[in-house]
Each structure stands twice: as C-alpha cells, then as structure tokens.
Amino acid sequence: MDVSARRHKTNREPLALHVPEPPARPGDPVDFSHIAIPEAGAMRCPDIAEPEPGMRDLPYGLIRVLDDEGRAVGPWDPRLDPDTLRAGLRAMLKTRLFDDRMFRAHRQGKTSFYMKSLGEEAIGAAQAIALDNGDMNFPTYRMLAWLMARDYPLIDLCNQIYSNERDPLRGRQLPILYSARDYGFYSLSGNLGSRFGHAVGWAMASAYSGDDRIAIGHVGDGTTAEGDFHEALTFAAVYKAPVILCVENNQWAISSFSGIAGAGETTFAAKAIAYGIPGLRVDGNDFLAVYAATLWAADRARANHGPTLIEFFTYRAAGHSTSDDPTRYRPADEAAHWPLGDPLDRLKTHLIALGEWSEDQHDALSAQITADIKSAVKQAESIGTLGTSKPNVREMFEDVFAEPDWRIIEQRREAGV
C-alpha cells in the first residue's frame, strides 16, 4: 500500500472519547441489571498450595456462602460456631448503632466530620475475628467494625471524634482517622492508598524476621487507580510477602461510580492475575464468605505461599461522609435495591435459621449496645466536644520528632505553652 495515500486518507470514522457513566442517576429507576449474582455455594475452594495459574476462574466469580434463606452452603462455608457468629453480629450492630449516633453528633455540631461504614460492616468484623491478635491491619477509614469486633473502648472512639482533652491522638487527627496499635489497627491517614505498601513492607519485615505474623491491607475501589495499588501488588508478588491485600468495591468513590476506576473493563480481583497472585472476588455483605476468604488467604500467607488479592463486592449504603449528599449523583433508593442485601440482616437471618438467635435476643442486644454507646457518649461529652475541650496545646508540638529540635522548642515558647 502506498504510504502517502494512507496518510492522506480522510474518510475514517472519527475517534470518540469514552467516558463511563453509571446506569442510573438521580430520578432514574435503580438499575442493577448489569450485576450478575451467582448462587451461594457455587464457587470451588482450591487448596491453598495450588499455584496461581490454576485459580484464574476465581477473580471472575463471586464467593458466597449464605443463600437467600440464610443457610450456609458450599465449600467456602467456614463452619463457624454460634458464639463466633454472634460475636460478628454484635460487632456489626455496634458499628451501625455507633455510626448513627456519631452522625447525629456531627449534625448537632459536636464534631467537624464523620464517615459511616453502613453496609460494609461485615468486612472489618469478620476479618478482626478471623485474624490473630499479632497480625496488623492497614485499614481504610471505613473499617470501624474491626475496632468494634476487638472491643476497642467506645469512650476512646468518642474522645477521638470529639478531639477533646482525652483524645487518644491528642487532637492532632481528623475524626475517625484512628490509630490503635494494641488492637492490630495501623494509623490511618487521609491520603488514599498510601498505606497499602506499608502493609506489604510490614509483612516483608515479619518474613525477614522469621516471625509468624501477617499483614492485611485495604483500599477502596476508587483508590485502586492510585499508583500505590500497583506498587504494593508488585512488591507483594516479587517478595511473596505474607499479606492479604483487599479492595472494598463499594461501587462508589464519593460521586464517581466504580466504572471510573475501571470496573467496566474487568473485576478488581482480576487485576491480581497480572501480578501472578491469586485473586478472590467475594460477596462483601456475607459475613461467612468474608471470614472464609480472609482465613484462606491468611493460611496461604502463613504457609509462605505469598499474598492474595481479595475484592469484596459490596455497596456504600450511606453518603461518602458528613460532607456528602449522595442524592445528587445516584438514585436515592439505590441502597435498598442492592442485590446482595444488608450484611447485618443476612447474618441475623442465618443465626435465626440455625436456631441460635431470635428477634427478642436481637432487640435485647440492640438495647444493650445502645445503652453502652449512650453511656460512652455521655461520658465523652462531659469531658467535652470539639471547641469546648481540647488536649493541652503543648501536645501540638510533641511527637514531630522523637525529640523536639530547637525550632519546635522556640515555637512552643512563642505560642505561650
């Protein structure tokens, strides 16, 4: 072919830029028809020692244990005893009730900011119970359920959210960016994804030291687009780090639907394949599936088989934060139609189906947790809320370095503290 003729050809179809759009916007009928929900129990559960190339169906499926009747079915059923199930239910319920209370506290002007975990409680709750005390979680800001499952004191949560005199982080951090080393909960930061590689490094350090502890790291679907995601997966794969890397695909990154992060082209779990590590795609609203997948990945890590990427398929039922109004970008009733339902209701139904729980017990537990929260909030508010109480201003100058340098000492003096 004549090259110059090619160059001058003009009758081609014009190029078109593709910008993904969600199936429904405010005012539209909810449309989840693009989401295929496989039957519970349908996915196979491979041996943890199986090489990754044999597992490439998993990232395109959806690991589910609880069926529509609340029965646990299939090879991923972790066969948990009722006490563990009740502990999970309690952690989720505590998270939800606390979220509601603190959301109200924000509306009452008692704090500057809050973020709910509504609809995603199963993930943190199941993982906190499935993993060992020595393991370290590198969480997102939507993982309060981990702390609830491990009985982090409610009063300390309130004090942190109120940035009051007893704030465990001394008034330095935005509300909910907790740090709880003794609870296996790494310091949160506002920067998205920047701790994903820390989880890998922590896991590498454990392996280097001949320890038996593992790390677990989290990002949301939106954050998978950050370079940190690629870096963490690369290092995890190269050094076979004993780490579980999780993506909470809750369909939304503030106002951007997951298609803007690449969900229209493939699953987030499938990204693991390119790194040569197993990828699991899990019903994130199924406490049992979350537990089983986490334990499977933990067993792999502990056996020196390396990292696993898990996508938890879920839905962010609340607004992004107290600063967000989701009715401006998605149908107002979308959460109610989410095909994977509500994680709390599903676990509750399961426990009731097992004959290990009842509506009365549930109401009693709910009342007891509400009372505990009320008491903690009251206690925290007697110390003070944002603007009515704060730690000593000296705390502003502490912990910049292990020891302050002359600048900090001078400036502390200049500030009069």
Partner: protein, 339 residues
C-alpha cells in the same frame, strides 16, 4: 587510620550496621548482587546474605512505602534511591506518611528509616542526574536531611542517621564520591587519600546530626555551605585572600543554628552557597534566620550564591554550577560593602 573514598566510607558504615544490628537491612534498585551503580553497597549481599541487602523493583514509591511498613514493624531499613532526581515518585510517602506517622499516631508508630540518595551536579548529569532537592525536604516537618562533604563525615553521619528514630533523607554529593572537588573542572583531579578527611576509622563512630563543622576559622565573613560547595567555597576563600570563616552545615534539619549565629555575630557578614536553584532554596531560610537573629551585627546584605533558576542544563554545566569564581566575587562584594 585507613584512607577511604566517600563510597568506601559509606560502604563501611552499612557493613558495620549489617554486621551488628539484625534489624537493619538494605534495599533499592541494583544495590544487591551488583553492589549499586556507584558501588556503595558492593559486597554487602555476598557478606551478609540475600535478605539483608537486595534488589528492588524500579519503584521509588514502593521502596519507601515498604520501608515505612518495615519501620512500623520494628526494623531499621536503609533504602537507596538511585538518584535524588528520582526521589519524587516517593515524595508522597515521605511527606504524607514517613514524616507524620509518629505525630498522627501519638507515637504509637514511627518510622526509623534512612533514605540514601546520590545528589548534586558537576558531573555533566543534565537535568535528571544533577538536582539538589534538599529544600523540598527542609520544608517538611518530621523529616531530617543530612548532607556530608567528606568520607569521615559521610560514615559518621550515616551511622548516626541509621540509629535515628526519625526518618532521615541522606543526600550524598556524587561529585565527591571519589575525591574532593573545588569547582576547578579544568585542573587535575585530587583523591581523598590526599585529603585529611579521607582518613576514616575502620570501626563504629558517629557524627551527630545537627552539628555543623567549622572548616576554616576567619574574622571577615561567614560562608555557609554543604556538600560539594564546601570545597568550592574553601577554594574561593583561599583564592580571594579574604579571612573568611567556612561552616559546613552537615545537616539541614536539624540545623546547627548556634554555630551559625555565633559566627555571623562575630564576622558581621555572611554568604550562603548551594548548588540548588536560588528561589525557594534553603539559602532563603538561612538568610531569614540570620537576619532575624543577627540583624544588629550585620554590616552587609546577606549574599546567596546558588544555581540559577533554571533546570540543570547539560552543555552549560560550568555556567550553571556555582564555581569558585562566582563565590569569590560574592565574597569581595560582601566584605567591601559599607553599611
């Protein structure tokens, strides 16, 4: 004492830490089997083992992120960024994570990492093998920044940096790796064996962070420099015949403000020399600090001799690099100025 190049001195520091502290490990691009593109990690993998000194993927963000995670676990990782020009992909990790981990967690987690990186020009490195990014770290609270100018300090400062419980950016003037360089690129090169600071103890010692060194005492003017510019300024002082006091800052943060103030109070004049471009450079901070603290002792405007406010060019190496001629001119202007 053995004579060492700066490369050998740095290697010796790493060797000592790897031999004595199992919590230390070294990684970065090409640092393992190959021993580093500048040979600083030569022989360490063979001597201490594959998991103590190993190669990393080409990912500066990943290198620093994993090092921070290791630090949070309780290790003391020493990582290399091959050129300081390539540290920027890790800038978010350094600024948003390493520098703040202790503060934001109220001391629950901290980050005792050392990030080594060759920096500075004078080697026809062009735009991405010559930069001096110290000012972008100086502005970040929670980071310490160290810059040696000779083999003795390089080893002592590196050992001190590794032992710090805070994150340290350790910038190594690659122009000084094999010998001192005073900016006279047209004259024969000298070696560290001929320089008193090339005498380096074989064992462990530290040079504390935050302590400047008075390279040359003088009465007429104070010259503040670090890295390669210490040697350039020293040559310019000798050639100008001016009785200048030369201070090698050695660390940018923490800064030895007392030594600086004492000297400028005595001389009443000050020039600041750095390779980094002038606007927003660390010289601006030094100038402001001196003005605030020595105002009534100053007899001339504080001068800054620095790289021009352009990217670091290739063909114009010696037009850009602040050599002894420019420093000499500034010295003369400064001592001749009459208040």
């Amino acid at each position: 004492m053995p004579a060492m190049t700066m490369i050998q001195a740095l290697n010796s520091a790493l060797d000592i830490k790897l031999a004595t502290d199992p919590d230390t490990l070294v990684f970065g691009e090409d640092v393992g089997y190959f021993g580093g593109v500048f040979r600083v990690t030569e022989g360490l993998q063979k001597k201490h083992g594959l998991t103590r000194c190993f190669d990393s993927p080409i990912s500066e963000g990943g290198i620093v992120a994993t090092a921070i995670g290791m630090g949070a676990y309780g290790l003391r990782p020493i990582v290399e960024i091959q050129f300081a020009d390539y540290i920027l992909p890790a800038y978010d990790q350094l600024v948003s994570e390493a520098a703040r981990l202790r503060y934001r967690s109220n001391g629950e987690f901290w980050c005792p990492i050392t990030v080594r990186s060759p920096y500075g020009g004078g080697i026809f490195g062009g735009q991405t093998h010559s930069q001096s990014p110290e000012a972008i770290f100086a502005h970040v609270t929670g980071l310490k920044t160290v810059i040696p100018s000779n083999p003795y300090d390089a080893k002592g400062l590196l050992l001190a940096s590794i032992e710090e419980d805070d994150p340290v950016i350790f910038l190594e003037p690659k122009r000084l790796y094999n010998g001192p360089f005073d900016g006279h690129h047209d004259k024969p090169l000298t070696t560290w064996a001929e320089h008193p600071m090339g005498e380096v103890p074989a064992g462990h010692y530290t040079v504390p962070l935050g302590s400047a060194s008075i390279v040359r005492e003088g009465r007429e003017v104070t010259v503040l420099a670090y890295g390669t510019m210490v040697h350039v300024a020293n040559a310019a002082i000798a050639e100008s015949g001016i009785d200048a006091e030369l201070i090698d800052l050695r660390s940018i943060v923490p800064l030895d403000i007392d030594t600086i103030v004492k000297s400028v109070t005595k001389t009443g004049r000050c020039i600041i020399v750095h390779e980094a471009s002038r606007f927003g450079g660390f010289g601006g901070e030094l100038s402001a600090l001196i003005q605030e603290r020595c105002f009534y002792h100053l007899r001339a405007p504080i001068e800054r001799v620095a790289g021009w406010d352009t990217p670091y060019p290739h063909a114009f190496e010696w037009d850009y690099f602040p050599g002894p001629a420019r420093v000499t001119k500034a010295l003369k202007r400064c001592v001749e100025a009459v208040a």
